[in-house]
């Protein structure tokens, strides 16, 4: 009969305890940067925050005051434009992917979505540049909105697809059995049922798009003044942070932190709300009537 030696037993137990403890330490370490970043952004950014920060235009170096009004408007315009373009395409394609997962088009669609979501945002920027800016010989808010829509489409497709899949088959089949054409079924039956999920997807997509700076470098290009003309270059929040942070001026660094505080608050709020919605929704999964 094989008997385990006391030493071996002790060894196994110690290794076990050590490794499990290490895993715990690692998970704390993984969470630490988030808290660290948030802490810094809040600490460095709050001094510069004031009501005027949101309503004024940027001032030249050395001149106190000034704000990010143009960037706020710019971000709203570009992201808004992006959503307008991306939402119909993303939602419709997502519905298609969920309803026809096994057709060649469905498979190709999923493949294509994966590819697009993996494209680095700067490459997207180049693409939009060659497609729009170059022929027009002009940086513009429109090009910024378009590149954001490219980035948002895969997110919308994926969340729509997941949400539609959650809609019980009985609901779908019921409508189809009544003779409704497929696209009509989609609109009147499935979408309302999955609406909650679509909103979630939109929020996540917006949060992502609002934070993108790299593509803006070659499309929207930034603008020190307020601009409401979509055919002109326009400032956006992340781009502004980049410019301020890369500068050698101390007070611009402070403005970068403040802008970052605004941006990160917005993005995190959207993300947390979206995830809470998902969690709440999957808890009440029976209530789709």
């Amino acid at each position: 009969m094989k008997v385990m030696s006391g030493r071996r037993r002790l060894w196994r137990k110690s290794v076990n305890a050590m490794m499990l403890g290490l895993a715990g330490v690692f998970s704390i370490l993984v969470v630490t940067p988030l808290l660290w970043i948030l802490g810094f952004v809040v600490r460095e950014g709050s001094p510069a925050l004031s009501l005027t920060f949101f309503t004024e235009l940027p001032t030249p170096v050395g001149v106190p005051g000034g704000g990010i009004a143009n960037a706020l408007v710019g971000s709203i315009l570009t992201v808004g434009l992006g959503v307008l373009i991306a939402a119909p395409i993303g939602v419709l394609a997502g519905v298609y992917a969920a309803m026809h997962p096994d057709t060649p088009l469905g498979v190709a669609l999923r493949f294509g979505t994966d590819v697009i979501s993996g494209v680095p945002s700067i490459v997207m920027g180049i693409f939009a540049y060659t497609l729009i800016v170059l022929p027009q010989r002009h940086f513009s808010a429109v090009s910024g909105g378009i590149v954001l829509s490219f980035i948002m489409v895969p997110i919308l497709i994926r969340t729509t697809e997941e949400m539609v899949r959650l809609v019980p088959n009985s609901l779908r089949d019921g409508a189809l059995a009544l003779g409704a054409a497929e696209w009509k079924t989609s609109f009147s039956v499935i979408l309302p049922a999955a609406l909650n999920g679509l909103v979630t997807g939109a929020m996540l997509a917006i949060a992502r798009a609002a934070g993108e700076a790299a593509p803006m470098l070659f499309t929207a290009f930034g603008n020190p003044f307020m601009n409401l003309d979509l055919r002109e270059p326009i400032a956006t929040l992340p781009h502004m942070i980049f410019v301020y942070a890369s500068s050698p001026y101390e007070d611009w660094h402070g403005k970068a932190w403040a802008t970052a505080l605004v941006l990160i608050t917005l993005v995190l709020l959207l993300n947390v709300t979206a995830r809470l919605l998902v969690w709440w929704r999957t808890r009440h999964l029976g209530n789709l009537g």
Binding site: M1, K2, M4, S5, R8, R9, R12, K13
Partner: protein
């Protein structure tokens, strides 16, 4: 209607034929709770050494819970707790001094659905011994071969030890799991409906091998197949759900007695197929 107390079988040895057989492991007043729900209540079950003990009863009566109490697998369920005690060779198993890892080595388990690791056949069987420091080379090879022979699988796999365990048929996979359990040289083997997912021929092979290995190990088998219990076991315990939805051991005796002359009417109804 109140259920009468279970048949009390307290003596530590049983008179069987002209010899006495010691108790290897036993449950005393054992109750298992999942949070507030009492799954089994006040079970007193002696398990005699080198004998096969079957636990039968209708679905949901707590047979598996009782079985899993022996190797403390219920511990894995959050919120589970135990009242009463389980003994192995007279030593309590539910005790703060006890090393669970060691309990599980001495009391092995075979599950309802075969669950081999996605490793080679050899590595599946060698997994346990390697944990205990059995080095590679001839010692390990010999141990693997011995375990596979005892599980009646050696001849079928000796030429393909390095193929994946998942490449075997269902019945073969289950015998692989038995070999894997045997490889750590346990004293007791728990079997949770080991053949219920298998075809009749595989089932018979497993029953045969149970007979062959019974002389070296103490076996407790849970089964919903009464004929199997009658074929295979030396002792049988009958469980049922009481009014509070907790499982109870209502009768325990030598298998022959249970199936030909049970003392409890409910047992008689069950084994004659009148219900359940």
């Amino acid at each position: 209607m109140d259920i009468p107390a279970p048949v009390d079988v307290r003596p530590r040895v049983a008179q069987i034929g002209d010899g006495t057989v010691p108790v290897k492991t036993e449950a005393r007043d054992l109750s298992v709770f999942y949070r507030d729900f009492k799954a089994i209540t006040q079970v007193n079950l002696p398990v005699y050494a080198q004998k096969i003990t079957a636990i039968i009863g209708p679905s949901g009566c707590g047979k598996s819970t009782l079985l899993r109490a022996f190797n403390r697998m219920n511990d894995l369920v959050r919120g589970s707790r135990v009242e009463g005690q389980l003994y192995l060779d007279g030593q309590p198993l539910y005790d703060s001094q006890v090393d669970v890892v060691d309990v599980r080595r001495r009391i092995g388990m075979v599950f309802q659905r075969a669950n081999p690791f996605p490793k080679s056949i050899y590595d599946n069987v060698a997994f346990g011994p390697r944990l205990y420091g059995v080095g590679g080379g001839s010692t390990l090879d010999a141990l693997v071969e011995k375990s596979l022979r005892q599980a009646a699988l050696w001849d079928e796999v000796k030429d393909k030890l390095h193929q994946s365990g998942l490449s075997l048929s269902g019945g073969q996979q289950q015998r692989l799991c038995i070999a894997r359990a045997i490889a750590v040289e346990p004293e007791v083997i728990l079997m949770d409906e080991p053949a219920s997912a298998l075809d009749p021929i595989s089932t018979l092979r497993i029953e045969e091998l149970m007979h062959d290995i019974a002389k070296d190990y103490t076996i407790i088998i849970v089964t919903h197949n009464m004929q199997q219990a009658a074929r295979v076991s030396d002792f049988t315990g009958m469980m049922m759900i009481d009014d509070h939805r907790a499982g109870r051991l209502i009768e325990f005796d030598q298998t022959q007695v249970i199936f030909t002359n049970p003392k409890d009417k409910r047992t008689e109804d069950y084994v004659t197929g009148r219900f359940g």
